[in-house]
Symmetry: none
Subunit: 196 residues, 4 copies
DNA sequence: AATGAATGAGATTTCATTCAT
DNA sequence: CATGAATGAAATCTCATTCAT
């Protein structure tokens, strides 16, 4: 086999997600990741520049896939309301399906050093863009209120989803995450106050 | 804590908040905190069991003060709406006033190891209780909708505030945080959808 | 003891000289030097910035002492011929007395990376200056020939002494080094050719 | 060596000389040498036992050629003085012509481990023999003085040439090396002292 | 013969924590 | 109570060498 095996690349990424999910980024030793991936330590450095690059690649790949699925589904939804609904559902379902991904995304990413966090937040920007474009579309169509800035709204949406997933992770996932979609959607659209 | 110089205890906590706020928990060396506090490294271990205990104490103290202020103000507010408004304002104002506090609370806490994070989330529980009791009161008084669980609502409120402060910190605090209170309050109460 | 012990500093330097003398710079592990000095590995980093700094300090100290002795003795010698004689003698005697020093100076220093070697050759410059000033003085007094450049002469003197010590070290020091002073002096002064 | 492609063998040696000349023995990675030689890393181990063997072979080949040329020229020169002159000239000219050779010979060889250096100095022995036989011949013919041992004389000759080349290399070769031959010859024959 | 992906021992350096003074 | 020098475990990354293809 002349080319570096794509299997090994995947194996290392999977192993990293697992170990980081279990013990956190800082405690995730390269040696453990290597063992988990059935690979020698040095091999990891054939595929990734260093530990940080491994984390970055992990996030990039997993988040990248999610974002592109999300884009597709959102584009296919008709109304801004449908799009928002879809986004909430996908965020929660994806987190529920891949626990390691959620763990890394929600919690461990924040362990990174200042500069890594900077790079990571650039990746998040794609997600933010999708959320904001839904909001803008809603505003244009006269469905969403225009008196509140799009950024504030986006932070509510992302912050709520993020916190919801974090809680679920810390609770050891004793309840169904995706079943919350409807309520959260309702809350986003109409707020806490009971309509008369 | 009762014996020993209370000044030193305070000095160390202040130094820790400063250093951690600057470089993050993992990069905050005990030696730097000691130098900042004008204390020998060993002295820190007379007041705190270890580095983790120092962070925990820091959080406990700062968050404790905040929580007790919050309780007081919330108790004094008349309606659930007023209480919610007060909570939002205080959360944002407090974060804006004490940058180190916000930094530690929002971002650095997540760097902690699994068990530390567990302990910290227990401290957060007090905050959650306040939020939830406001919601319950609102529900009882027929102001807030009852068809959505209190926990889901609480996660929206906390998650949104958390994300809002995080964004502000990462943006290098180039805008006024507390000025967002009204919009966030509006959003919480009435949601995204434009009333006709 | 409040101040870092000067004893430890010395002990580490001695240990480094010994270990480097035995196995060479690259194979001289910090851990071995630490064991030899009866010190923990970390302690070495309290006294020296890194391994390279340790070597540099070692050379600086030992060579510095030698140079200052040499300067003193050379200043006290009357004629350029006496000065040259003294220099030869001291070079050989010093190497003979402190085998580790010689080993490090003659052989191991050259192992250094490009930049370290640069720094080291700056230190050697002091030695070169002494040699060249003796030559210049001899030329001025009409004792040494003026038709050959001082640098060429200096290189002969240093190169010969250096090679002589290197040979002696590689021969496992089976003969007396300092006893060669006279012959070398003769050779420097009058050359290979038999006077008629 | 007889079998296998002699081209590859040469290519590897050339590449090794180039890389070692550039970055030194310790920093010369096998992977870089392989790339420079347009060969796979593993291939190097078909031709050489290990890295050390590669260096040894390199030296052997280059020095061997030089030595055999030297022998030829020295045999053709008439007097011991002519022979000495020739040797000086060839040493300097060869170093000047092949910078990599000089670099490896003068400086990088010293980076080798103890046992490698031992082997290398055995190779040098051939060179030493030539020098010493010139000296002996001179002594027999009554041209060179007999009161100084041949070894001491040889060390002066080799040491001076060695140091001269080293200086030139470290000076980034800003002057002509071979033009120094005459002065050095003069110095060897008649010494520093001005004849009256 | 040739390849180059894979290996894994090994070395430096950091830093929370201890303990003799 | 206070100090800060000393400790040493731990973790990343490198690179000569091997070996399956």
């Amino acid at each position: 086999m002349a080319k570096k095996s794509i299997d090994k690349y995947e194996a290392i990424l999977d192993a990293a997600a697992k170990i980081i999910g279990e013990v956190g980024y800082h405690k995730a030793q390269i040696s453990k990741i290597a063992r988990e991936a059935n690979v020698a330590e040095g091999t990891i450095y054939l595929y990734f520049k260093n530990k940080q690059d491994l984390l970055l690649s992990l996030f990039q790949k997993r988040y990248g896939e999610f974002i592109s699925n999300l884009k597709f589904e959102v584009a296919n939804a008709k109304t801004p309301m449908d799009k928002l609904k879809k986004l909430i559902t996908m965020h929660l379902e994806n987190s529920e399906r891949d626990r390691n991904f959620a763990q890394v995304t929600q919690i461990e990413l924040r362990q990174a050093d200042r500069d890594l966090r900077q790079k990571l937040s650039e990746l998040l920007k794609d997600y933010f863009d999708i959320i904001e474009s839904i909001i803008e579309e809603g505003k244009e169509q006269g469905i969403f209120r225009k008196d509140i800035s799009t950024k504030v709204m986006r932070r509510m949406i992302f912050g709520t989803l993020d916190e919801t997933v974090s809680s679920w992770l810390l609770s050891s996932r004793r309840y169904s995450l995706s079943r919350l979609s409807n309520d959260i959607f309702e809350l986003f659209c109409y707020g806490l106050v009971k309509p008369e």
